[in-house]
Symmetry: C2
């Protein structure tokens, strides 16, 4: 088989899968199904019905499907994804899929099949509870962020990782779609007509733009840690017992709060959209209350774990010993988290690529209410991020806008 | 001649110099003198006495001379220096030496001879006035910092420059000698016994350590612009009419304030040391007053020029349009500048590698006074950097401590 880059056929995918040792019995009758619902990749689900064994093959496409072939994308993102997954797997064992092989020429990552799991966004939309998720994801974030930062790893080796994870093209998508286009009348925006008034208010809000500019600057400049880079609930496979973070192709060295904020934003977007799945008002209120508790718990557990790593494993003499520095660091990180969460929420209401949590609400009036709630919470998080000193700041804003 | 790396002899340097086109007449009787007084490089001054023409050949050594061969250093810094010089020459024409050739294998940069100029530290120690310096250096800093930042260049291409200028080994020197060792009883410190009491106070000052930790974090994390990285008065060749910035081997993507702060710190160190060169108290007071005016003028001209570039050439839609963002940016940059200036001052009094401005004061009591003044100003700049909103903050501190 040629290894020159080309999008694989399902038959080719099967042949490659067969060459991975230790997964399928010899001579197994493998089946392939292309299951990619993303915009940037082919995803083959290879199964052996006889043994019940399976794996996933993810191949990067040289363009973004969402805009046809007109938005070319580097295949190097497959290397970045694969290397990030392997590193995250070392730092947070069991919380990312195992990588069997990375084929650079084909921009192909072959990894553990997680189809026993459900994409968490869908699970939340269906009202599934994830009682262990806050523990799992706070461990994932604390470990991957701390141990790739100047606090937790050799500071000269960290610079080489910064170099290896320079990711201009995928960062550009974030820079435009999250930190620019929603704040002006850009062609990429996908504007629900019913909330045009709220969107125009955002376009005219200079104080809001200044806060977004400060957050954009952090995204552009602060090489704090190796981020997942796209840590929303669509990048997480979950069951009530298990959590697996996938798709780190946006990985780069950036501000830690961007990962934490992306996650909290998507939980709050689900909160905003929770109006529709249950006609039982009590059940809905309980689920929303659980979501807020999850937001609180994720930050608080993250902070506790990150501080414990700092106290036990800090490699920086001054950071380990300077009185007050850790407190100042955690407060700034919380504020970044809140600001970035706001940016992620706003973008997902009327920028390119909405979230299903809100868009799939069938009733137009209920959907509009969810959109307005998400915008109100998102903009308030952005506006006030630099005043926050506890995660209760977020809870208070949601309660003020959302109950 | 072999091009395998080895430290060049003077005869080899002459042979290479002869191959540079357009500098020396054919058959010229070239002379070489090794004039390096730094710790990291050989510097050959190649001259043709007959024509009066000359050039400089700077070759990186694979170790730091200051500590013998025990501190190995990458030769890649010669590439970094050469590429930085070429880029700075484009952005700030006439303010850096012209590069004739860079030989990667020999870690050798061949460039314009500036021996008509004097190292500015020496010039200042001798009481030379540089009436155009503030204008020149503020242009150098505004142009090189703005046009290599996300404000002034394509933000995806900037990421590739960040990658090309990853400079772990030379950054490590700064991280240790400026942002760590002076704040603890490290072996590298070179402690004048007469100020042991002041130094021990610094070692016990937790609030000061916290501010240094915040500045260290910026040095480690903020990839704002391509810095010179070592912009002290020993890295500047000057005459009253001309300014040439040399030796950017510490270049990397870091916080802009580190360059500006390094420069201001070294002017203030000279201020502290000005007691000795003139027994004429009035002349001394005038020179000191001129130095303070130079500090003020450098910042103010820098700010004016940087804001003008921002207003005319900003590539970032949001940074160009968000009300208040430019003001917030400039204020934070001033604060960084002041904090870094303080760190640079403290280090040069008792860390590794003092400055001649103070160490060469022959009278022990006068020298001690200068050391204490530099420490008092430096620590106060660090302690108060986050309260500053004008360069007058610096002037006021110097006047309070220094007159």
């Amino acid at each position: 088989m040629t290894t020159t880059y080309h999008p694989l056929t399902e038959q080719e995918a099967i042949e490659i899968a067969r060459s991975i040792e230790g997964v399928f019995p010899e001579g197994a009758a493998l089946q392939s199904r292309e299951i990619g619902d993303g915009n940037l990749n082919l995803v083959f689900h290879i199964t052996d019905p006889a043994s019940g064994r399976s794996l996933i093959m993810k191949q990067a496409l040289p363009y973004a499907k969402v805009v046809g072939e007109s938005w070319p994308l580097t295949l190097d993102r497959a290397r970045i994804e694969s290397e990030a997954l392997i590193l995250q797997g070392k730092l947070a064992p069991g919380l990312v899929p195992h990588v069997y092989r990375y084929d650079k020429e084909l921009a192909l990552t072959i990894m553990e099949d997680l189809s026993s799991h459900v994409i968490m966004r869908r699970g939340l939309m269906e009202g599934t509870s994830y009682p262990l998720f806050a523990d799992h994801i706070s461990t994932f974030m604390a470990n991957t962020l701390f141990f790739t930062s100047d606090l937790g790893m050799n500071q000269q080796e960290k610079k080489l990782l910064v170099r290896d994870f320079i990711n201009p093209e995928l960062c550009k998508i974030t820079e435009e779609l999250i930190f620019d286009h929603p704040y002006t009348n850009a062609d990429t925006n996908d504007i629900p007509a019913e909330i045009q008034d709220a969107i125009e208010s955002i376009w005219q809000d200079g104080a809001l733009h200044c806060e977004v500019a400060l957050l954009r600057e952090k995204f552009l400049i602060r090489a704090e840690a190796l981020l997942h880079g796209d840590l929303h609930t669509g990048s997480i496979f979950a069951t009530p017992e298990s959590t697996k973070v996938i798709d780190p192709e946006f990985a780069y060295y950036g501000p830690m709060g961007f990962d934490i904020g992306a996650l909290l934003a998507n939980l709050l977007l689900n909160f905003a959209g929770q109006a529709h799945w249950s006609s039982d008002a009590d059940a809905r209120a309980r689920f929303r209350s659980d979501l807020l508790e999850m937001v609180r718990s994720i930050w608080n557990q993250f902070e506790t774990k990150f501080r414990a790593l700092w106290n036990d494993h800090c490699v920086d003499r001054l950071a380990a010993s300077a009185p007050g520095y850790q407190d100042a660091y955690m407060k700034r990180l919380l504020q970044d988290t809140i600001g970035f969460a706001g940016c992620k929420m706003v973008r997902r209401v009327y920028g390119l690529a909405h979230v299903a949590d809100i868009d799939k609400i069938p009733d137009a009036a209920v959907r509009e209410q969810a959109q307005r709630l998400a915008l109100a919470v998102g903009t308030e998080l952005i506006r006030t991020n630099r005043q926050a000193d506890s995660i209760e700041h977020v809870i208070d804003i949601v309660k003020k806008e959302g109950f």
